[in-house]
């Protein structure tokens, strides 16, 4: 398997080649890579790939890892069913 075929984002099946293409097109932050490739948009919301993407960005843009803008974190921390979130306010909850 060629190195470029490595899967970086497992949820959305984004390869190293696609990440490199996004960087080539001008992406310099984790969110910009995400918006171009969907890396980090999947079920785990980048928990697995965001560190890899940061490293790839550092390697290919020459920025230190610590200076690369991290991805935005948004709730929920992990997937949660709609009916549970719907009743956070104390409304009826039909779930067992």
């Amino acid at each position: 398997m060629a190195e470029e075929d490595l899967i970086i984002c497992r949820c959305e099946e984004v390869t190293l080649a696609e990440i490199l293409q996004a960087i080539h097109e001008g992406a310099r932050t984790v969110d910009e890579v995400k918006r171009r490739t969907r890396a980090g948009m999947g079920l785990c919301q980048g928990k697995t790939c965001r560190k890899l993407v940061t490293q790839i960005l550092a390697q290919h843009t020459g920025q230190p890892v610590g200076e690369i803008l991290p991805a935005t974190f948004r709730p929920p921390v992990r997937p949660i069913a709609l009916n549970i979130l719907a009743s956070v306010e104390g409304e009826k909850d039909d779930a067992p």
């Binding site: 969110d31 919301q45 948004r74 949660i80 979130l85 956070v88 409304e91």
Partner: protein, 384 residues
């Protein structure tokens, strides 16, 4: 090489202006304070809506949709454009007659739509709740991936010679003694130019102040919920919304909520929607999220065990009369405004860019933009 035009704002509006201007051979320099599409453009759903009134809006929507059909062929990235149609659903029988009047009015305006009985709706969408009163199908409506549209327009503009500079904030605009634009100052230096387009979305008011103009655009917050991907046969028509959605536009003093279910090509469902005024606060309010989900589950109970993977809130550029501003200011030569689209920035993005391009290159505009002038607002004259 000095730019002919500096565009402030790299959302769908600014990128559309950049694209249509660059295509005309105009030298464009776009500055964006964050990454591209990082304001309202990344915070919406997917609907290209062809039935939001009044008449001028309908004209803009229709013209923009025609441009989308071409853009989906000519842009360098896949913008996931698809004519899906949309279904508006009335829940409460008491609201049916006024909805039917609205549909009649839209038909008179030339909007293609047909009223549907509850049985007809259930036939189209077997997973909808049974206790609905009626609705209508809008066959011309379409969907798109707004972020990809923004990125694709920017890339195409670049291919036509535009400079797209992200992480660069406009800090001031220099005027000549005769009140004409001379230069834009940014965090990355001074850019001499004779024309500026204020496409800063919810932040347009601050850009207006730089030239002493009151641009009455304020941020109106909207929340969206993203689910895990769902098989494509759960929802047939990819855009289902509560007919009461139209009424949420005019609600001013509280949080307005209406069900709005849209499935993206990726399979993720985007659930909306809310409208409230919270200043520039983009944090997610958990009570609003709960209320939106509860409202959507009334219509689509089958989704109740589907997982939420993300929630977000964005700031839509609101104007007091709910119409955008697409205009060159009367009192400052070379200062153009393309802002205030509220929830219709995605729908109206292409036509807005084209109109601004036609104004700047002194061509006849595709539509009369008189009603979209900045001077229609009281006090929209130069500040003291």
């Amino acid at each position: 090489m000095l730019p002919d035009v500096v565009i402030i704002g790299g959302g769908i509006i600014g990128c559309s202006c950049a694209y249509y201007l660059a295509r005309e051979g105009v030298k464009v320099h776009l500055v964006e304070k964050g990454p591209l599409g990082s304001g309202a453009s990344k915070a919406g759903q997917s609907h290209i809506c062809l039935w939001e009134q009044p008449e001028i809006s309908l004209k803009l929507e229709k013209a923009s949709k025609l441009l989308y059909e071409t853009l989906s062929e000519e842009l360098p990235l896949d913008i996931e454009y698809e004519r899906t149609g949309s279904i508006a659903i009335v829940e409460n029988p008491a609201e049916l007659s006024s909805f039917e009047q609205t549909v009649q009015l839209l038909q008179d305006e030339g909007v293609s739509c047909q009223l549907l009985s509850p049985d007809e709706i259930i036939e189209l969408e077997p997973n909808l709740a049974r206790d609905i009163a009626g609705g209508a199908f809008f066959p011309q409506d379409a969907q798109v991936n707004p972020l990809m549209v923004t990125l694709a327009l920017a890339q195409a503009a670049k291919e036509n010679g535009a400079v797209i500079q992200t992480f660069t904030e406009a800090t001031g605009i220099e005027l000549s003694p005769g009140k004409a634009v001379v230069a834009v100052n940014t965090t990355a230096g001074r850019i001499p130019t004779k024309a500026v387009v204020n496409a800063a979305g919810a932040w347009s008011g601050a850009i207006g102040k730089m030239v002493g103009l009151d641009v009455p655009v304020i941020p109106r917050r909207g929340h969206i919920i993203v689910t895990e991907p769902v098989p494509s046969d759960v929802i047939n028509c990819k855009i289902l919304l509560e007919a009461g959605y139209m009424q949420t536009l005019g609600v001013e003093n509280k949080v307005a909520i209406a069900a709005n279910i849209q499935q993206a090509r990726s399979g993720n469902i985007l659930l909306g929607s809310s409208r409230d005024f919270a200043g520039f606060d983009r944090s997610v309010d958990p009570d609003i999220i709960s209320a939106i989900i509860a409202r959507n589950l009334c219509f689509m109970p089958i989704l109740s065990r589907i997982h939420v993977i993300r929630t977000y809130a964005g700031l839509r550029p609101y104007t007091p009369d709910l119409l955008p501003i697409i205009d060159e200011a009367d009192t400052v030569e070379g200062f153009y405004v393309a802002s205030g689209h509220e929830g219709l920035g995605i729908t109206m993005g292409p036509i807005t860019g084209k109109l601004i391009s036609q104004m700047i290159t002194s061509q006849q505009t595709d539509l009369s933009v008189e009603q979209l002038s900045l001077s229609r607002f009281k006090g929209a004259t130069r500040l003291a």
